[in-house]
Amino acid sequence: MNLDFTEEQEMLRTMARDFIDKECPKTMVRELEDDPKGYFPEIWSKMAELGWMGLIIPEKYGGTGGSFMDLVVLLEEIGRGCLPGPFFSTAILSALPILAAGSEEQKQDFLPRIAKGQIIMALALTEPSATYDAAGVSTTARLEKDDYVINGTKLFIHDAHIADYLLCVTRTKGWSLPEQGITLFLVDAKTPGIKITPLLTIADDKQNEVILENVSVPQKNMIGELHQGWPVIARLLEQATIAKCAEMIGGADWILEACIDYAKERVQYDRPIGSFGMIQRYIADMWTEVGIAKRLAYYTTWLVEQGLPCAMEVAMTKAWVSDVYMRQARMGVQIHGGIGTTRDHDMGLYYRRARQVTLLFGDANLHREVVAQEMGL
């Protein structure tokens, strides 16, 4: 057993924190909330130069071949800084399925470009059904001559508006078992028939509705095998869920530190508010909860990294971390008093993000249900 990060991981953390503090301070995060694109291409290029987009892509495809734990370290910092942009969509939600199920040719084609920051990608999975299971997918792909033709509506699709490619999850065969008959396609976002409309969300985090109307995709853009796409997505969801948990933990850490600082600084009744028992109790609980969350998340990351079964642990982590992050954000605002409720204060940014991010990949209740099932209930 060794429950510490490696020296390289500590360095990665320091580097990431410095980079985000310097290149994308909160003022810019806010600017990007109102910006239709939602990212700065210059920062995106610099992230690529630092090797972030290729962090978990093997060296032979232009990446640095890092581990999942490395990724978790980076994502904690991204979550801590609320760094906007299509990193998650591209380097995780799209790169991982290509890595897992793409052909050698597809890997050679896409992964180096992802690693270099040359392309932006988005996962088009969820639909108006608003679920993360196979039964929720009703967008169809039919073979017509040499091409597949896709029809349907995808909803809540992060970064589709700036994506060069959409990784589109489609139904290619009937309904008897929802998990059978799902097929993945890489769709050039400029293909005629794609209509993208931005949604207004609580976290201004650039989600879209994507309507696909008779969108033609060459057969060669199929990722993995016909009808065999769901296991790829199921595995991706496990990885993505734990990766999102890392982001949430980073955010929760920021809130905790902001509260500690504020509790020391803010004076009422001639004393710092941190000297009041109630505030001490809040902060002690917050510290405890986020500390526990980290142990669970790192353990699950290790399972993922080792390729061990982890369905239950992923669900436990998502349930726990979501609840912790929501509480942390709620108490973070409360400890800041009136100022915490304003649009301009950073605490609100985390409060809004926490609500959004905890809904992703199934909320805490859905994951508790998974845990119950895994417990044999």
Binding site: Q334, G337, L359
Partner: protein, 382 residues
């Protein structure tokens, strides 16, 4: 004990509902209308019916009716999500404060105008360094002949940009111990030297302001009560501010709509959704009955203190749970804001979630209120 209303009270409730059915087209209904629904014409219509200042003496434009009638009236206004902000502060706390501490002249000048729905008030208490610790306030009033000269800054002043008058709390004796140098004034918001600057809340809305006072001249006759006794007068105003049923009904329209949605979409068959909504149902009933208790005390001539603190703490935390549960039930749709494509219930759930942290700050934070319950209610050592 008897929980029933008299036939007259029931008739009054019917009358109010009748009026609201006619006046408020369905599509206007949203949340927090007592904080955001600024519609002076609507307030004037209520005023015409005598429904502002209902409990005040007739000689000052009131109806001399009981606090239970006021409870019925406010409960119905909130149930309908009526836009009552223009007169809410005047009716709820400024009127009672003037009644309790004002001069005869002040009563004759202000109360009838409030009761007619003609004037709006904002409340200028908090400052950047004096939030929970209100007695540390620094906005100064010096004297010059018949005038107070005001200099300083207030913050979190709800509706300062809309109000005709500010109920302002100032320091009149800087040399006295801090609780003993505070006074209350009514200030015309059109006075030269006042600037209100917007503060935008988490939902993106502007109802809060920073208000700057730069040599603002206020006639001395606008002093409410005794000079330097302001601190002791404020306490009961705050009790009025905290005790109303709005604290449990700010999101009532949303509560109804989320229950209906659960029924229509079949979500209501999900055991977890059932459990959560049932729990909210219980909490709403508990909160409502507690507000009834507080109204009862008022009707008996008792100003509730720790009871108001208990009611506000419980009720506002209920409102937060309501917003949270509503957004959980809506799942991914719960994150869509008003104006978004595909937004269910017009994005009201996300807006409610964003506004809800404010409830446990405004009118005293939950922590301060818990201190009041412990120290003033139970006599625990402070």
């Amino acid at each position: 004990m008897d929980f029933s209303f008299t036939p007259e009270q029931e008739r009054f409730r019917e009358e109010v509902r009748h009026f609201l059915d006619r006046e408020l087209p369905q599509q206007e209904v949203t949340e927090d209308r007592w904080l955001f629904g600024f519609f002076p014409q609507f307030s004037r219509k209520l005023g015409e019916r005598g429904w502002i200042g209902l409990t005040w003496p007739k000689e000052y434009g009131g109806q001399a009716r009981s606090y239970l009638d006021r409870l019925i009236l406010t409960e119905e206004l909130l149930r309908y999500g009526a836009p009552v902000f223009a007169h809410w502060f005047g009716d709820r706390q400024i009127g009672p404060a003037i009644l309790a501490h004002g001069t005869e002249e002040q009563k004759r000048e202000f109360l009838p105008q409030i009761a007619k729905g003609e004037i709006s008030f904002c409340v200028g208490m908090s400052e950047t360094e004096a939030g929970s610790d209100l007695a540390s306030l620094q906005t100064k009033a010096s004297t010059e002949g018949d005038w107070f000269i005001i200099n300083g800054q207030k913050v979190w002043t709800t509706g300062a940009h809309l109000a005709h008058f500010c109920y302002l709390v100032v320091r009149t004796d800087p040399s006295a111990p801090k609780h003993r140098g505070i006074s209350e004034l009514i200030v015309d918001m059109k006075s030269p030297g006042i600037t209100a600057r917007p503060l935008v809340d988490m939902t993106g809305a502007h109802e809060l302001n920073e208000v700057f006072f730069d040599n603002v001249h206020v006639p001395k006759k606008m002093l409410i009560g005794q000079e330097n006794r302001g601190w002791y007068q404020i306490a009961s105003q705050l009790d009025y501010e905290r005790s109303g049923i709005e604290r449990v009904m700010s999101n009532y329209p949303l509560f109804v709509d989320i229950i209906n949605l659960a029924k229509e979409e079949g979500l209501g068959k999900d055991p977890l959704v059932r459990y959560k909504l049932a729990q909210l149902g219980i909490e709403f009933e508990v909160g409502r009955l507690f507000c009834y208790r507080v109204a009862w005390l008022l009707s008996q001539g008792i100003v509730p203190n720790y009871e108001a603190a208990m009611a506000k703490t419980f009720c506002t935390e209920f409102e937060q749970r309501l917003a949270n549960v509503a957004s959980q039930i809506m799942g991914l749709y719960g994150q869509l804001m008003p104006g978004s494509k595909m937004g269910l219930l017009k994005g009201r759930v996300a807006r409610a979630y964003l506004y809800s942290p404010a409830y446990t700050m405004q009118g005293g934070t939950s922590e301060i209120l818990r201190n009041i319950v412990g120290i003033r209610g139970l006599g625990l050592p402070s």
